[in-house]
């Protein structure tokens, strides 16, 4: 029973981690309708930034968020403006996929050039200390990630529902042309949204850096799972992504314990395929129109 509880809690903590990465991805997908295959590399860039700042300035890793979040925000805005926006009207979405894949490849190898193949270990600053809560143990840093993910979901939802710009974002997501007719600067909305999505990863990077050693492949590792989380939650749904992350976190944790830790990904991706067969609109998504009939 204690083992079961521990595996359960591990799963939820892992879910928090997937959530904080998946939220930005689902935001970008939901609004800009672009799958950002470089999302994981945004995380990697943020983690390297957090590592450099922490070691150079000798500050607490969390402090770096002050710089990493704006950095990623601008990085995301630039990506949208110069790489995605020119292709928004492309006849098919392949070409957008290629651009983000190219960006991802370039960033991974740039990291390899700059940092080499060594791991960059951000000082944990006590965040890898285990807390004993009743029968289970969790790391301080994991709890913070979980809390931050929850706050991020609540904050983004409030922002999208209650501010003028948030409404503009949702309007653009519903119908680009109609939003433009209502006087919304659609391109600017896309740029800001992409920036916001990237900023979410910036926050994630500062929180994850002290928990995981940074390498150029860290992004690939997390983003594959984040894709599954986003599909499971219903693409574009922020709350869905959070709940989806919990489900995937639990599947990951339980399959690692009961099947074998090297087969976790097989379990997660099999679930992904099952979702596509059984509930393509996602476990928590609304109705999705599957037919495109004029």
């Amino acid at each position: 029973m204690e083992v079961f509880l521990q595996v359960l809690v591990n799963g939820l903590m892992l879910g928090g981690l997937f959530a904080i990465i998946g939220i930005g991805l689902t935001l970008i997908f939901g609004i800009v309708k672009v799958i950002n295959f470089a999302h994981g590399e945004f995380l990697m860039v943020g983690m390297y930034a957090a590592f450099l700042l922490t070691t150079a300035l000798d500050v607490h890793p969390y402090t770096t968020a002050i710089a990493v979040i704006p950095l990623l925000f601008v990085f995301g805005m630039l990506t949208q403006r110069f790489l995605i926006q020119p292709l928004m009207n492309a006849r098919d979405d392949h070409i957008q996929i290629f651009v983000t894949v190219g960006l991802s490849t370039a960033l991974i190898n740039l990291a390899l050039l700059v940092f080499g193949a060594e791991f960059a270990t951000t000082p944990p600053s006590g965040l890898r200390t285990a807390l004993e809560i009743g029968p289970v143990r969790v790391l301080v840093g994991q709890l913070v990630v979980f809390g931050a993910a929850t706050l991020l979901v609540v904050g983004l939802t409030l922002y999208l529902n209650n501010t003028q710009f948030g409404r503009a974002i949702r309007a653009v997501a519903q119908n680009r042309a109609a939003a433009r007719l209502m006087g919304i600067n659609v391109n600017w909305v896309y740029i800001v949204t992409f920036g916001l999505g990237a900023a979410c990863v910036g926050l994630a990077a500062s929180l994850i850096a002290p928990l995981y050693p940074t390498s150029q492949t860290i992004g690939t590792y997390f983003v594959l799972i984040a894709f599954v989380v986003v599909v499971l939650g219903g693409m574009g749904s922020i709350t869905g992504a959070f709940l989806g992350a919990m489900v995937i976190g639990l599947i990951d944790s339980f399959s690692a314990y009961y099947i074998g830790s090297d087969l976790r990904e097989v379990a997660v991706f099999t679930v992904f395929l099952l979702i596509l067969i059984l509930r393509p609109q996602g476990l928590f998504g609304g109705r999705q129109t599957l037919s495109h009939v004029s």
Partner: protein
């Protein structure tokens, strides 16, 4: 007809010949250059080039023709490698093993793709990446059979039987031979029925369905063929490398590279992937040799940047540049523009067609619609709609905007599932059937057009019509012949080689009808084919519809052009807010107070 400005694009045989000469030159060079130079490293580069060209060409069958972007094609390559090596370990020749690998890869491809192909969206791309990871993990896990992380060496049995040689030349010959076979298959697909159906599916899935294509099935064929071919290359490559391991057999960068060569050469073209590999592989290999360990990551970084730049500035690849160059030379050829051929037996423009002469008596019922119901959320779009269509009859379906006309069409062509009610169609053999999918409807002989025209943009007018003709014909020649006849009849003969996109709206509406006519339907559903075209065109269209009807086809037409409705219809149904509010002879229906109220409002009903 207002589309005189259009320039039909012909492709003179001289250009085709030049293309063929270029292709043969490139292929000959790939085989002869290394033999002439005789250097080991050059051999290696050319073998690698053949392998990448073969893989990219195979990728292109699903990534280009079917438009399903795979970023995990190494799954199939890796399966081929592993199956080949394992079977060699049991003493089975890779020439046999490659087919076992191909069969397994095709199975895996279908299993992964089927859930994705039913959906719209980026699911296939995500699934291929995800399963690439799954297979890598599985290869690591089952170390008893796969050797785990350390990989597997192949036993060094030298000879053709084992695909392992001391010299490089035999390997080059095998790689080159595989490339030729795969190119031939890719070319054959592109020029035959399957290729037309794949490209139609990629361009407009709903129009492809209306043309009777089982879009999921053709995409599955494409992925299965592509996977099988990739696996066979994988088997050979494993023999050539003599060693395999999970990280390189199931590698994401490798998969991206395969797709990237196709993009750079020209996605969806037959020879683009070949061109991409020929241009890039030597640069890559030399760069790898020259930079080596000095700047680890540099060559990947350059790859990524090139990928971004090509996507931004050269999305059609090198083939796109080449064809743009040829288009310019073609555009200079004088005397190609001209007026559209007149329709056979067309009336003079001011000759208003009278009531149809010598109407054949409508025959037996061919479509029965009973109690159709459909809700969109809280909106009751069609409410208990029932009607019958007789053989050789033209049934006019009219009603104000939002009455539910197109929804009825979507339900009687399989594009929407009704919440209640039933549609039955009498098959050619006289039995009654209840078709479900668009493909069922097409198979039983119900063809439809779309209110918003849906041309296959990347195809010529002729190819568009051929997609319809392939519904009845299997050979390309027959389909082409049928398409030309239909084009003649529809007044599109001058534009056969024009890009569908370059037609005016009147031309596109005719193309829409031509495509469905080429399917030789028994029941024709026409959704506002006369909207937005000029008076003269309306008169021609009326004449055309009558001539179609005279060949025994039954027609249901949604139409707002009242002149056409009155002149054509044997029977009219008026739909308002999802209900049938009136039906009967055209003259009676337009006097019906309910109909006038629905169109104009209550105050006009008294004057009727």
């Amino acid at each position: 007809m207002t589309d005189q400005t259009l320039t039909p694009v012909q492709s003179p045989p001289s250009i085709r010949l030049r293309g063929l000469v270029a292709l043969v030159t490139v292929l000959a060079a790939m085989l002869l250059l290394p033999v002439a130079i005789g250097d080991e490293f050059i051999y290696h580069i050319f073998i690698t080039m053949c392998i990448f060209a073969a893989l990219s060409t195979a990728w292109n069958i699903v990534g280009g023709y079917a438009g399903q972007l795979s970023l995990g094609h190494a799954i199939f390559y890796g399966i081929g490698s592993y199956v080949g090596v394992m079977l060699v370990g049991m003493g089975i020749s890779p020439w046999i093993g490659m087919f076992a690998g191909a069969a397994l890869a095709a199975l895996v491809a279908v299993a992964i793709s089927y859930p994705c192909f039913r959906l719209h969206g980026p699911f296939f791309t995500l699934a291929t990446i995800a399963f690439l990871e799954v297979f890598r993990v599985l290869a690591l896990h089952f170390r008893d059979v796969t050797g785990g992380a350390t990989g597997m060496m192949i036993p060094l049995n030298i000879g053709w039987e084992w695909m392992v040689f001391r010299e490089r030349l035999p390997s080059l010959i095998i790689a080159f031979g595989m490339l030729l076979v795969i190119l031939a298959i890719a070319w054959w697909i592109r020029t035959n029925r399957l290729g037309f159906q794949l490209i139609a599916t990629r361009e407009r899935e709903s129009a492809a369905k209306a043309a009777g294509i089982n879009t999921v099935r053709v995409k599955l064929y494409a992925v299965a063929i592509s996977a099988a071919l990739s696996a066979m290359v994988g088997t050979f490559h494993a023999m050539y490398l003599t060693f395999i391991e999970p990280a390189s057999a199931f590698s994401l960068p490798f998969s991206i590279q395969i797709a990237m060569f196709a993009l750079i050469g020209g996605i969806g073209t037959v020879f683009g992937p070949l061109l991409g590999a020929v241009l890039l592989v030597p640069i890559t290999e030399f760069a790898r040799g020259a930079l080596g360990g000095e700047a680890i990551g540099l060559h990947g970084f350059v790859y990524g940047v090139v990928l971004v730049l090509v996507a931004l500035f050269m999305p059609n690849g090198v083939m796109g540049l080449v064809s743009r160059f040829f288009d310019r030379t073609k555009a200079e050829a004088p005397g190609q523009a001209g007026a559209i051929a007149k329709l056979p037996a067309q009336p003079e423009p001011d000759d208003i067609p009278g009531p149809p002469k010598a109407v054949p008596e409508p025959g037996d019922e061919i479509v029965r619609v009973v109690g159709l119901d459909k809700h969109f959320g809280g909106l009751h779009v069609t409410n208990n709609v029932s009607f019958k269509l007789r053989e050789g009859e033209i049934l006019g379906l009219i009603g104000p905007n939002g009455a539910g006309k197109t929804t009825v069409f979507n339900m009687i062509s399989g594009f929407l599932k009704p919440d209640g009610g039933e549609v039955s169609v009498r098959a050619a053999d006289g039995g009654w059937r209840s078709p479900v999918t668009p493909a069922d409807y097409a198979a039983i002989g119900v063809g439809r057009t779309f209110q918003i025209v849906q041309p296959f943009a990347a195809m010529t007018v002729e190819e568009n019509i051929m997609v319809g003709a392939f519904h009845r014909h299997h050979s390309t020649d027959d389909a082409r012949h049928a398409a030309r006849q239909t084009a003649e009849r529809m007044g599109l003969a001058r534009y056969l080689d024009a890009e569908a996109n370059s037609l005016t709206i009147g031309g596109l509406k005719r193309l829409e009808v031509a495509r469905v006519m080429a399917m030789e339907p028994r029941v024709l559903l026409l959704d506002e084919v006369m909207a937005g075209i000029n008076h003269a065109d309306v008169l021609r269209a009326i004449d055309l519809m009558l001539s179609i009807r005279d060949t025994g086809v039954s027609i249901i037409a949604i139409e707002h052009v009242m002149q056409a409705v009155m002149a054509l219809s044997d029977h009219v149904i008026v739909l308002n807010s999802g209900r049938i509010i009136a039906e009967g002879k055209p003259n009676e229906v337009v006097r019906d107070p309910d109909v006038i109220e629905a169109y104009l409002g209550k105050e006009f009903t008294h004057d009727a």
